[in-house]
């Protein structure tokens, strides 16, 4: 028999013309579904996250006890920066780094490698599933909590509100891209937990979530301009507050979009290397 016949399959499979996205939307859906299975840990998560936000909120409130303005941020602006920053983090967060390293360490990754799927697209979909779950179920209680307890200003104006939403979507993708890369890289390191833990601290600091980027010395800001991290928290928040205006709005979102593309490219490249290692050494 010829190769052609074999490939077509003599078993009479009618291959459905599903759009390519259907597979990955399904991964998003199932990942969402999986999160639903952990109701208790979800409730505990909301509770501890609320405390976390409150701690930072009161820390900044104390910082402003003696003064009206710090580094050009009025107290209202700063408290809004903190509250909105943590609200956003509540949904751009995902755990694909941990899922990826767990799967590789346990050998479960074999079950993904035997499927006709793009590995990165699958993990991105799963990460988006986490984000979707959090946006629908985790973020609302955090929003209610912060808006009720703290003073949160609305966005600067309608234009900034629209750019903020767009910029926040970008930050979800940047975080996803970074998390994927970290997950793949962690496979090469021995102490995976250590890598994942320090990743969280580094991202919180470099993204501008803990302290706005423009509070840092010049060298730090220059460095940040060449790193993707400020696209995660600082840009959306600066847009929200109206601190970025005019052409700079487009520049900020353009910066984010560029980093999304770079992160996806870098992620594909290092997975290619990592996959080769797995395929040669058997995990």
């Amino acid at each position: 028999m010829t190769g052609g016949e074999c490939r077509a399959g003599s078993t009479g499979n009618a291959v459905m013309r599903w759009p390519v996205m259907a597979t990955y939307i399904e991964y998003l859906r199932i990942s969402f579904h999986k999160m639903l299975a952990y109701r208790i840990s979800y409730l505990i998560g909301v509770f501890t996250y609320g405390i976390h936000v409150a701690v930072y909120y009161y820390l900044y409130k104390a910082l402003y006890a003696e003064t009206e303005t710090i580094n050009g941020y009025k107290v209202d602006d700063m408290l809004t920066y903190v509250a909105v920053g943590w609200i956003c983090k509540s949904f751009y967060l995902n755990y694909i780094d941990r899922e990826l390293t767990d799967d590789v360490q346990s050998g479960q990754v074999a079950m993904d490698l035997i499927k006709p799927i793009d590995f990165q697209a699958m993990y991105f979909s799963r990460g988006l599933g986490h984000s979707a779950f959090r946006l629908v179920l985790f973020t609302p209680p955090i929003v209610v909590l912060t808006v009720l307890l703290f003073s949160v200003n609305p966005p600067a104006d309608a234009v900034h509100a629209v750019f903020f939403i767009f910029s926040t979507l970008m930050s979800v993708l940047i975080y996803l891209g970074i998390n994927y890369i970290i997950g793949v890289l962690a496979i090469f390191f021995l102490s995976i937990r250590g890598v994942l833990y320090s990743k969280n601290l580094v991202i919180e600091l470099l993204s501008g979530l803990l302290v706005p980027i423009d509070w840092f010395p010049d060298w730090f800001r220059t460095m940040s301009a060449f790193l993707p991290f400020q696209g995660i928290a600082y840009y959306p928040l600066a847009i929200y507050l109206g601190r970025i205006d005019g052409v700079e709005l487009l520049q900020a979102v353009g910066f984010q979009a560029l980093w999304v593309v770079i992160m996806i490219g870098v992620g594909r490249f290092i997975w290619m290397l990592c996959q080769k290692r797995i395929l040669i050494q058997g995990g």
Partner: protein
């Protein structure tokens, strides 16, 4: 052209070797010594469409390594490999559409959510049309008795139930080849039987080619029409199960229970079949004849004995497949 072609396939792993103790651990930081392990060496075979082949060997014999290479998740060190006209590791994403894989130690079901969700995901992954999907799922549901467990989260299933669901998961896209790596590991007798019946049936009905590794030789005996025995990465035997019995110099025994004790001697002289039957008399009421299956007709032996002695009962002993395979493992090679 065979569906699966394997020629001189080898896989080496290099493993970091450490000397024991703290000193060894510190040394290994600066001076790394690697040791090469030949997991699979020089393995060749061909499998035709529709065959059901048992691939067996002791732990560490290289079975799983071979299966991993065949499924495209391990790159061979050397040799030629072709399945469904694909080189598995090179065209993995296209190739994997054509195969189903069950690893008994793993699951491809999502642990925390109902089984049916994983099936729905697989429908999209393999782009199975709604019609085909529903038809196959209905059929498998009935064959494997899944009605009540489809809505149960996987973590709440028993091992047997989970394995049945994993089988369905591997067959939903109607693959041309199904690889089963110890699918019955840890299952009870009923669970094993169910899986055996299922495999037999879908092999017969869909013509799917199957390669099965297992430690359960009963399973091999009942399911497979062909057997490949490996150890230390090499093939020791490749052929039918019947052929295994005849190839090995194993005796068949017939034990006669007598109703009165046999004469002390003389009676054997008429029954020596040119010396190809050995006679033993463990006690006065028992006579045991041992001979090679292919050289002596057992019916002839029985009728001759009946003529000379008063026989009360007859038992025929065949060598167990376990015995034969145990012997192959310990000898490490096949007698030609």
């Amino acid at each position: 052209m065979a569906l699966i072609e394997v020629e001189k396939l080898s896989k080496d792993f290099s493993i970091l070797k450490r000397d024991p103790g703290l000193k060894g651990a510190i040394w290994s930081l600066v001076r790394r010594r690697y040791e090469t392990v030949h997991a699979v060496s020089d393995v060749s075979f061909e499998i035709q469409r529709g065959e059901l082949v048992g691939y067996i060997g002791p732990n560490g014999a290289g079975k799983s390594t071979t299966i991993k290479m065949l499924t495209g998740i391990l790159i061979p060190t050397s040799g030629h490999l072709r399945v469904c006209d694909f080189v598995p590791y090179r065209e993995r994403r296209h190739y994997t559409r054509n195969i189903g894989v069950v690893f008994g130690q793993r699951t491809q079901l999502w642990w925390d959510i109902p089984v049916i969700e994983s099936f729905n995901l697989l429908q999209k992954v393999y782009k199975v049309s709604d019609n085909d999907y529903r038809r196959r799922l209905d059929e498998f549901k009935e064959l494997l008795n899944l009605d009540e467990i489809l809505d149960v989260p996987v973590r709440k299933l028993s091992l047997g139930q989970r394995m049945r669901c994993d089988l369905v998961a591997s067959m939903l896209h109607n693959p041309q080849v199904l690889f089963l790596d110890e699918p019955s590991i840890g299952l009870d007798v009923v669970g094993k039987l169910r899986i055996r019946e299922f495999l037999q049936r879908i092999n017969r009905e869909t013509g799917v080619t199957m390669i099965l590794t297992t430690h359960d030789l009963r399973e091999i005996e009942e399911l497979c029409n062909r057997l490949i025995i490996v150890d230390h990465g090499r093939i020791l035997y490749d052929g039918g199960i019947g052929g295994l019995r005849t190839k090995y110099a194993f005796d068949r025994h017939i034990i006669f229970q007598l109703s009165e004790s046999h004469p002390s001697d003389g009676w054997q002289n008429d029954l020596d079949f040119n010396g190809s039957v050995r006679w033993e008399t463990p006690d006065p009421l028992k006579v045991k004849a041992s001979f090679r299956k292919e050289s002596v007709n057992p019916a002839a032996v029985i009728s001759s004995v009946m003529k000379h002695l008063s026989v009360h009962d007859i038992t025929i002993e065949e060598p167990e497949i376990e015995q034969i395979i145990g012997m192959i493992y310990s000898q490490g090679k096949v007698k030609q």
